[in-house]
């Protein structure tokens, strides 16, 4: 049941055809883990929090640095030197006190990922392939959807992974460009918002998700391309021989 305050807070989205109070209750009962409270994590956490996801778990292992602030808009300048997860908690609780925020200040590894994920939906807002592989492992082992985003400069990618139905992260990425990528804040802004949209649609059972599709955002030319991606039958993680 929604409280009077929740009915008022979420009124404008409850008005959406097909959303209704029942949809809002689905969000209230949902649990989402956001891996990474940086460039992608900032918009993802912001929009999941204000949309009313009941339980949000934030996992990150970094402290805020000045050079993060061109894109990680969850964190204010005054929080430089603080743990990102603590700064994220402050911001999310200020945005929406009606939801629960859990924070874990740790590096995601193959050893801890299953404990971190439990049965939460997984948002991949990481910045390195190794951590993404860890999330992929948990997604496959627990049959949980994985909402993937990646950025470079003014270019971004999004896909939604459903174990058994779509390619996994290992099907998609054998290797990535190495090094510290340039990032303009608007790019993770666009990509993170699309990831959050996918999460909401998944929970609500609305619309069409980015299954078996990779959305490519070319911010320099303002073009969105959508391509069909395929499972790799020889994939080490989800292939037929696993």
């Amino acid at each position: 049941m929604l409280t009077e305050q929740e009915r008022a807070r979420y009124n404008r989205q409850i008005m959406m055809p097909g959303w209704d109070e029942a949809g809002q209750e689905k969000l209230k009962n949902a649990k989402v883990m956001v891996a990474g409270a940086g460039g992608l994590g900032s918009p993802v956490l912001t929009y999941l929090a204000v949309a009313g996801i009941g339980k949000i778990r934030v996992v990150d292992c970094d402290v805020i640095e000045l050079s993060n602030l061109n894109r990680q808009m969850l964190h204010p300048d005054s929080n430089i030197g603080k743990l990102k997860v603590e700064s994220a908690r402050e911001r999310i609780e200020a945005l929406n006190p009606d939801i629960t925020v859990e924070t874990v200040n740790t590096k995601i590894t193959d050893g801890n990922v299953l404990d971190l994920v439990e049965d939460y939906l997984i948002v991949d807002a990481m910045d390195n392939l190794q951590a993404r592989y860890c999330l992929n492992k948990a997604s496959l082992e627990r049959s949980l959807p994985l909402f993937h985003g990646a950025v470079y400069g003014l270019e971004g990618r999004v896909t939604t992974i459903l174990p058994g139905e779509t390619p996994c992260i290992r099907c998609l990425y054998k290797d990535v460009l190495p090094g510290t990528p340039p990032v303009v804040g608007v790019t993770p802004g666009v990509i993170g918002c699309i990831q959050a949209t996918e999460v909401l649609k998944y929970i609500l059972g609305m619309g069409k998700l980015l299954y078996n599709r990779l959305l490519i955002f070319d911010g320099l030319n303002t073009i969105f391309n959508k391509v069909k991606i395929k499972k790799d039958p020889n994939c080490d993680a989800c292939g037929s021989s696993v």
């Binding site: 400069g153 054998k174 290797d175 395929k230």
Partner: protein, 103 residues
Amino acid sequence: MHVVHPYKTRGTRMSINVKIPMIMRKETDWQGEVEMPCCTPEESLDELLKRFPAIKKWIYNKQDEMWDRLQFYVNGEQIHNHEMKRPMKDGDELFLLLNICGG
């Protein structure tokens, strides 16, 4: 500059459109799309290297093996390495994609 494409001399009118990732465009005089008179993804890649030799570092590593971080799509559908010799039709689009990982 007038360029005579091989397909014109052969009398056929085969032309495919190759889309270049943003990251590589410094090496293609900032061109994002180029027309190629080729019949397969592999031939198109060879032709691209002929026209823009500096692009090689994005395609091949020091051992001359193709980077695993490169992906190919024909008309929006992913193709894997064993499909690089698959014939394409006039007007087809070959889309190169470089895997990125920032967050």
